[in-house]
């Protein structure tokens, strides 16, 4: 037998933990697998199809591109009008008395 107090403490602790070894393994409920399958099915049912996600994303991209294109076109035509007005020395607005 060891007389070292640390070893004694260790042995005492091991004795104290010994009842843990008596715990028996038990079987899970036979219905558990059915419940898991149900939860998997629910998850699959609630999942948004990727096709729908991609098509929504694509329509957003198209909408944004049309917007950007229209804005650029508008800018371009404004510049064009200004250039023509300058070339023909036209008054670009309706204010006659400046």
């Amino acid at each position: 037998m060891s007389s070292n107090p640390i070893d004694k403490n260790k042995m005492h602790m091991e004795d104290f933990l010994k009842p843990l070894e008596s715990i028996k393994q038990v079987e899970a409920s036979p219905y558990l697998f059915t419940r898991i399958q149900q939860r998997i099915q629910n998850k699959l049912d609630n999942r948004v199809p990727m096709k729908l996600v991609y098509s929504i994303a694509a329509s957003f991209v198209i909408l944004l591109s049309i917007n950007a294109f229209t804005m650029l076109q508008q800018n371009h035509s404004k510049n064009k009008e200004a250039n023509i007005a300058q070339a023909f020395q036209l008054i670009p607005d309706n204010n006659l008395y400046k």
Partner: protein
């Protein structure tokens, strides 16, 4: 490996491991469901770098610890709400209900008190103790499951035992 085969092979292991963490059949069943849901989702992503059993052990440990944290959070929230609304039912339902089917009736009291001390340990010490003492895993296996070195596991177990000794007999730990 098919999901059903995995369930047949490992459901007992997962359920019993969850029981060691929560000591309650209903909670352990809920954890088991969560574990197999994750296994089903991640089966395609599972890389054969580690054994499937080690992988399932890791998922079960994480799910058990997450479940305990969530339950404690709910308890705190229910306590705060009970201060404003006089409805103690929710708080009662969230209380710890010791109901471990693997424990013999004559040892229930002693083990309930021991588990109370084990539950108060930090997560990694608790996991090391459960794996080595309740799951009868070697230090090498515990190290592999916990992704630690054998030395680190040895030190965790030592600290767990010291902390338990302090909790059980406060004069002994000094």
């Amino acid at each position: 490996m098919k999901f059903e085969e995995i369930y047949k092979q490992f459901s007992k292991l997962v359920f019993n491991l969850a029981l060691q963490y929560v000591q309650n059949t209903e909670d352990a069943e809920e954890i088991t469901q969560d574990v197999f849901l994750t296994v089903h989702q991640s089966l395609k992503l599972f890389q054969q770098n580690s054994e499937i059993q080690t992988w399932i052990y890791r998922i079960a440990i994480n799910k058990s610890l997450d479940f305990i944290k969530a339950k404690n959070r709910k308890k705190r929230f229910a306590f705060i709400t009970s201060l404003f609304h006089d409805d103690g039912n929710e708080l009662k339902n969230l209380g710890h209900n010791f109901n471990h089917p693997g424990i013999l009736l004559e040892q229930k009291e002693a083990l309930e008190s021991l588990f109370q001390h084990i539950n108060a340990l930090p997560d990694n010490q608790k996991t090391a103790l459960i794996l080595s003492k309740l799951e009868q895993k070697s230090q090498k296996e515990v190290a592999e499951i916990m992704k630690l070195s054998t030395k680190a596991v040895e030190s965790l177990l030592q600290r767990a035992k010291t902390n338990l000794a302090k909790k059980i007999n406060p004069s002994e730990g000094k």
